[in-house]
Amino acid sequence: MKNTRWMLAAVLTVLTAFAGIVSTQPGLVAKAADGPASAQIKIDNFTFGPTNLTVASGTTVTWINNDDVPHTVVSDDKVFRSKALDTDDKFSYTFTKPGTYNYFCSVHPKMTAKIVVK
């Protein structure tokens, strides 16, 4: 089992490095040749990180809540809306339309952030 995990970790590291190379802009996650692109946003200390993220169309963004309190991920235009995410809970959304998506936590509305889809 341990070996398998190591292998997986190694493959992931290579993939991540590859994604880094093909990125043409800072923060832009390029579509990998062998599958759809993905990006992760961490919720830490009542903050979405990164607060501003640019992704390619087709990217699946996954939010993970690392706080001791529940948060939500809700787009200002109601395009996407997560349930309340408890500690370690995740929410994913695949962006297929280019545009700017402002979103916030509906429980703590001071928490705002943005995703730009190119």
């Binding site: 200390n45 009542f46 903050t47 706080d67 001791d68 309190v69 529940p70 939500t72 200002d76 349930k83 309340a84 408890d86 500690t87 402002n102 979103y103 916030f104 509906s106 429980v107 703590h108 509305p109 001071k110 705002t112």
Partner: protein, 318 residues
């Protein structure tokens, strides 16, 4: 020990001494005494040091807040136990409260089992009735439907309500619904209209007690500790001689007097939160295990007619 603020360096209405005192209150409550329209608060842990007569009034009630049933992280792995201790503290008061106000965040995640545990625990409170307003943690599912069905049957709109007792007018408000991106707590136009009508027929000499979850004054907007349209709500109460505002949400006691209005926030029965700006975020704060009960508490309020003031007593579980 004095409850007055000696040094208000950050203009936030709390000094180090006051904060440390509050931190001695987690798991407790606050005793509020209304005397001649002014609400005085004492930590429940301090009540023992006073004479009974200090608090005796025409009406006594208790505020408890932020029970967060379902929370199980390091800041307090057993919030049901500390709630039970808070209940025991209330039941041990010399003057049983006529009623209890719970100012929201009954639960942590709005789960049916959490609401059940809260309701079951509070059955042992020795009081006639408990009035509830929701916190943002109580309306995570179903737009608050589950909360209103269980705890807001006689209420209007999102759960707001009012009642009269011993010549005092009590108003329970909801400021945790339909929050806007970048904003603070919100009452909304429907509720504001209702407040205006609700107080319109009252004599200006009527003492008013308003309770809601998120503070109705700007405690620390950077952390969302305030309500966007609270000023409009309070503008309808300018003509009254005594307005007392009781809130929760910030898990620490603070008091501020502005004109005819006394603002007061209660401790949590579950876990403390940091002083405004004194941490990276307002999340649960871990204190040493043997200090936890010194920062949880309840609030007891007493009203004395003729004297026209409310005395608020905060007390800790320790």
């Amino acid at each position: 020990m004095s409850d007055y603020i000696k040094e208000n360096l950050n203009k936030d209405g709390i000094d180090r001494r006051g904060f440390l005192k509050c931190m001695a209150w987690v798991g407790t409550g606050t005793l509020c005494v209304l005397k001649g329209g002014v609400l005085k608060s004492y930590a429940l842990s301090d009540v023992m040091q006073h004479k009974v007569g200090d608090f005796k009034g025409d009406l006594s009630f208790v505020q408890i807040s932020d029970s967060h049933i379902g929370f199980n992280k390091a800041a307090n792995p057993d919030v049901t136990a500390t709630l039970r201790e808070a209940i025991a503290k209330v039941n041990a008061l010399a003057t049983p409260p006529a009623f209890v106000l719970h100012t929201g965040d009954l639960t942590h995640l709005s789960k049916p089992s959490e609401f059940d545990t809260l309701a079951e625990s509070l059955k042992s409170l020795k009081t006639e009735r408990i009035f509830y307003v929701p916190g943002e943690h109580d309306v995570l599912e179903d737009n608050g439907g589950m909360f209103r069905e269980r705890f807001g049957k006689d209420s209007m709109g999102d759960g707001w309500h009012s009642f009269d007792r011993n010549g005092i007018h009590f108003i329970g408000l909801v400021n945790v619904m339909n929050l806007k991106p970048g904003g603070l707590g919100t009452l909304g136009n429907d509720q504001l209209e209702w407040i205006k009508k609700d107080v319109s027929g009252l004599k200006s000499s009527t003492p008013i007690v308003v309770y809601a979850h998120i503070p109705l004054w700007a405690v620390y907007p950077e952390w969302g500790w305030g309500t966007d349209d609270s000023e409009q709500a309070l503008s309808y109460m300018k003509r009254f001689g005594s307005v007392t505002v009781l809130n929760g949400h910030i898990h620490q006691t603070m008091q501020k007097v502005e004109g005819n209005v006394t603002f007061h926030t209660a401790c949590s029965t579950a876990f403390p939160q940091p002083q405004p700006g004194q941490a990276d975020s307002p999340g649960p704060m871990k204190v040493p295990d043997d200090k936890l009960r010194q920062v949880l508490g309840i609030t007891d309020v007493n009203f004395v007619r003729g004297n026209q003031s409310l005395a608020i007593v905060d007390s800790t579980l320790a």
